[in-house]
């Protein structure tokens, strides 16, 4: 069963490496959105420090949204998704592999680039570390929840907009606690603990439930 998991994971990563633009567009989108704010609101230190955590998280939300549409669409178009549905493996496991590959390609780069873009917001070193940690726990939740929406809107005309309307409200808790952790860390680092517990709980919940829901949605979309 693990070999199947790795096979799907390796396949998606290999495909992304053969077609790098998809991965890079998400990353550049993230960087550009974040860089626009200091240009727009001016370079006052305190104002930027207050804005920083929220802006980075909203940008991460939008970037992950942007990449979601392609999660199943390519496989749907060339018929490989049909074949995945007909393998003798639990579909949820295959979905989990696809989501993990998706996160490694679109979520993890955001986590790694965050300290660089955060420099524009004069964030303290501790705040930057907390932000990276929060993104590392939070972005997989975005990919997992997003997979449900991507599966539901598969093959629909104008599915992209519908996907945003379906999924963005569900991202709110992650946004609130992710950005909250960074803001709180400026006052007292120990206070971030409950935020991380909650983000961790979201991650575990999504890890268990989202692949099952996405698998069920895929079956409906392919009927």
């Amino acid at each position: 069963m693990l070999s199947v998991f790795y096979s799907v994971l390796a396949r998606d990563i290999l495909l992304a490496l053969r077609r790098r633009t998809d991965v890079l567009t998400t990353l550049f989108f993230f960087i550009i959105v974040i860089s626009l704010f200091p240009l727009g609101v001016g370079s006052e230190r305190e104002q930027l420090q207050a804005l920083g955590p929220g802006v980075v998280w909203v940008a991460a939300l939008l970037a992950s949204m942007l990449a979601l549409e392609r999660l199943f669409a390519a496989d749907y178009d060339d018929g490989t998704l049909e074949q995945l549905l007909l393998t003798g493996q639990p579909l949820a496991l295959l979905v989990l592999a696809k989501v993990l590959a998706h996160w490694l390609l679109t979520g993890l780069p955001l986590v790694l680039i965050a300290p660089l873009v955060a420099m524009q917001y004069h964030l303290e070193a501790t705040a930057v570390w907390v932000m990276m940690a929060a993104l590392a726990v939070g972005t997989p939740v975005l990919s997992l929840i997003g997979a449900i929406g991507a599966a539901l809107t598969l093959g629909l005309r104008g599915g992209g907009i519908l996907l945003s309307l379906l999924i963005l409200p569900l991202y709110v808790p992650v946004l609130v606690y992710g950005a909250g952790a960074v803001t709180v860390s400026a006052i007292e680092i120990a206070d971030t603990e409950p935020y991380f517990y909650l983000l961790g709980a979201f991650l575990l919940g999504a890890l268990v439930l989202a692949p099952l829901a996405a698998a069920a949605a895929l079956r409906i979309s392919l009927e």
Binding site: V4, G79, Q83, T87, G88
Partner: protein, 220 residues
């Protein structure tokens, strides 16, 4: 054995077929015919479990395919209108993944042999998007050579193939039936068998009350 009772499917408002009953035992080829839009693909997708029929039961080896779920998929090979291969991967990589997903990984040698048999020697290392339509189809059909699944469900497998490939595919289907497998296929082509039985099923408009199968005796 695939056992279908009282199957009915509709697409939108249109009843494609109803009270369809037939059996596909081992060593049998079921040839589904009907004009365009008569529901051949819908029937095949229902047989695969990709589509939930409106009524009726589909059983494999005596158990409902809904209950069998993944166990049924393991016995099944479906070849649809879409090739199901990744354009950015080479033929070899595509097949390697397909074998792993079927939990029956084979060595690269076996895959290369199969690709050579289907006439793609020298094209193994090219991304399949560089291949012609017919060659892509050949890559996808190589799964048939490597498959050990007892039930093949093939939707119009002969389209876009040249004469040689058609011969080879007919031969593969004949081998599958001779080896004790079952094949369900839609095609406008005749498929000669050396061994085993051919059944024919014609799908007509739903208002025709008797869209039932007519059996053909074995062609020895």
């Amino acid at each position: 054995m695939l056992d279908v009772t009282d199957l009915a499917c509709r697409r939108g408002d249109r009843q494609l077929f109803r009270s369809l009953s037939f059996q596909v035992p081992a060593q049998t080829l079921l040839h589904v015919r009907g004009r365009n839009g008569s529901g051949k693909t819908t029937l095949l997708r229902a047989l695969c479990g990709l589509l939930r029929p409106d009524a009726g039961r589909i059983r494999w080896k005596g158990k409902s395919i809904r209950e069998l779920a993944e166990d049924y998929n393991r016995d099944l090979l479906y070849f649809g209108h879409l090739n199901g291969i990744k354009a950015d991967l080479t033929g070899l990589e595509n097949l390697r993944i397909a074998r792993t997903l079927d939990q029956d990984p084979v060595g690269d040698d076996a895959i290369l042999d199969a690709l050579a048999r289907i006439g793609l020697e020298g094209f193994e290392d090219l991304p399949t998007r560089m291949l012609s339509q017919g060659q892509k189809k050949r890559v996808a059909l190589t799964r048939l050579i490597l498959s050990k699944a007892p039930l093949w469900i093939l939707d119009e497998p002969f389209t876009a193939l040249d004469v040689d490939a058609v011969d080879l595919l007919q031969q593969l289907i004949a081998e599958q039936v001779a080896d004790g497998g079952s094949v369900v296929l839609t095609t406008h082509q005749e498929v000669p068998l050396t061994q085993g039985a051919i059944q024919r099923l014609t799908l007509d408009e739903a208002d025709d009350e008797t869209p039932v199968s007519g059996d053909d005796p074995a062609r020895a």
